[in-house]
């Protein structure tokens, strides 16, 4: 009898621990709580978001204040990024958002720079000023072209003549 009691207690403990672990994975790590709860939803539009993904963090001066909740294309073919910020955050209306990279190849996230206006952003409003993501490949491409351009005379003529020669 006593033995079964101990067993049942351990079984109960096991089920609780297992459900607790599932809940921790779902809510704390999986971030299930963000869906549905209204904090301070705002959005911004960018020309280029590169590798930004939903759930990417939004921070101010390195302190996390929210996360990206959705990415879509607006009517003018710009990327609209919805984010959910801490509801206690008082963000001036002339703040700006930039997509930056952590490290050389790290994840993209959004960095906010607060403006100076006295009025604060209300839920659903747009962050007016944005700075698009730098696309590393394009940057490298430009750099290579620039490097190739400067000793223009010999290299350009060499390769150009090869390509244009058969045309006439």
């Amino acid at each position: 009898m006593n033995e079964t009691g101990t067993r049942d207690f351990l079984v109960g403990l096991f089920v609780l621990a297992g459900l607790g672990a599932l809940a921790f994975l779902s809510f704390s790590i999986g971030g299930l709580r963000y869906t549905g709860e209204g904090g301070l939803p705002v959005y911004a539009t960018f020309d280029q978001i590169a590798g930004l993904k939903p759930k990417a963090p939004v921070d101010i001066a390195g302190v996390k204040v929210g996360q990206v909740t959705g990415i879509s294309l607006d009517e003018s073919y710009r990327a609209r990024v919805d984010m959910d910020l801490d509801r206690n955050l008082k963000l001036p209306v002339d703040s700006s958002a930039a997509i930056v990279t952590s490290g050389l190849l790290g994840d993209r996230y959004i960095q906010l720079s607060p403006g100076a206006e006295d009025r604060h952003l209300a839920p659903g409003e747009q962050i007016p000023y944005t700075e698009s993501a730098l696309v590393m490949e394009r940057l490298i491409g430009k750099f290579l072209v620039n490097v190739g351009d400067s000793p223009k005379e010999d290299s350009q003529s060499g390769s150009g003549s090869q390509e244009t020669a058969p045309a006439p």
Binding site: F14, I29, G106
Partner: protein, 259 residues
């Protein structure tokens, strides 16, 4: 020679189809008694103890070890790109999407699935199953049902415990030994893991693996030859068949649902 080989192949295919059919009938019999009272909660709780509580040690020790290895390997790779801040994401995602459910299923197969087969097989060899039938009690109802359902329930719980201990193991190595910031590790983990994309899929995998291991283990025990050699053969084949099916199903779940 060639014709013989083809005939052998045909025979083999026939065997596989036949045993799949028998497994389907067996499954249907379990489902038919699933909600038939009495629900046998006493037996179910005992099975939760045997399959779940007694597996905690192996699951947490393995989880810790796997997490520490992931932490070490991940750190050594990431540090070359200066991205060691993403260690939490690497450890967490690989565990939640893949390693957690799969390794838990393999460990549980070896630890608990084999025990289920051996117990049912021994009950068959010692005529306990026939004894139940003579007492007008269906062995599928009294013996198989609690074991199969306990396996299904235990698997996602063990998988979650495995993942958490492994994330802890990665933390110990990454933060404790390699000096990554603890907050960076956790925030990289939380930022990269999504409930809908990752955690829900992880739970789905664990439940499907629980169904697989539970069915295979009880079926092999129930159909084992009633001798000690028969029971040992059935136990071995449970471990082999269940492990291989877990890996095969893992591929298809990943391919179909993208988790």
């Amino acid at each position: 020679m060639g014709a013989g080989a083809i005939r052998g192949l045909g025979h083999g295919v026939g065997d596989v189809v036949e045993s799949l059919g028998r497994l389907a009938v067996f499954t249907a019999r379990i489902l038919m008694v699933t909600v038939r009272p009495p629900l046998r909660l006493r037996e179910f709780a005992d099975e939760l103890f045997k399959l779940g509580v007694l597996s905690i040690l192996i699951i947490s020790v393995s989880g810790l070890a796997v997490g520490m290895v992931l932490g070490l390997q991940g750190y050594n790779t990431l540090v070359r790109f200066g991205a060691e801040g993403s260690l939490g994401a690497v450890v967490g995602l690989s565990l939640i999407r893949e390693l957690g459910p799969v390794l838990t299923a393999l460990l549980t197969t070896g630890r608990a699935g084999s025990a289920v087969t051996a117990e049912i097989g021994t009950m068959k060899a010692t005529e306990q199953l026939d004894g139940l039938r003579m007492m007008a009690v269906d062995p599928i109802d009294y013996v198989v049902r609690p074991k199969a359902w306990a396996m299904i329930c235990v698997m996602p719980l063990l998988s979650a415990l495995f993942i958490l201990t492994a994330i802890g193991g990665g933390y110990v190595v990454g933060v404790g030994l390699m000096g990554i910031d603890g907050g960076t590790y956790m925030s990289s983990l939380e930022n990269s893991v999504d409930f809908g994309n990752d955690v829900a899929g992880s739970i789905l995998k664990a439940v499907i693996f629980g169904v697989l291991v539970g069915l295979i283990a009880t079926y092999r025990g129930y159909t084992s030859a009633p001798t000690s050699a028969g029971v040992s053969a059935a136990t071995t084949s449970t471990v082999v068949i269940a492990s291989v099916s877990v890996l095969i199903f893992d591929y298809f779940i990943t391919a179909l649902w993208g988790v």
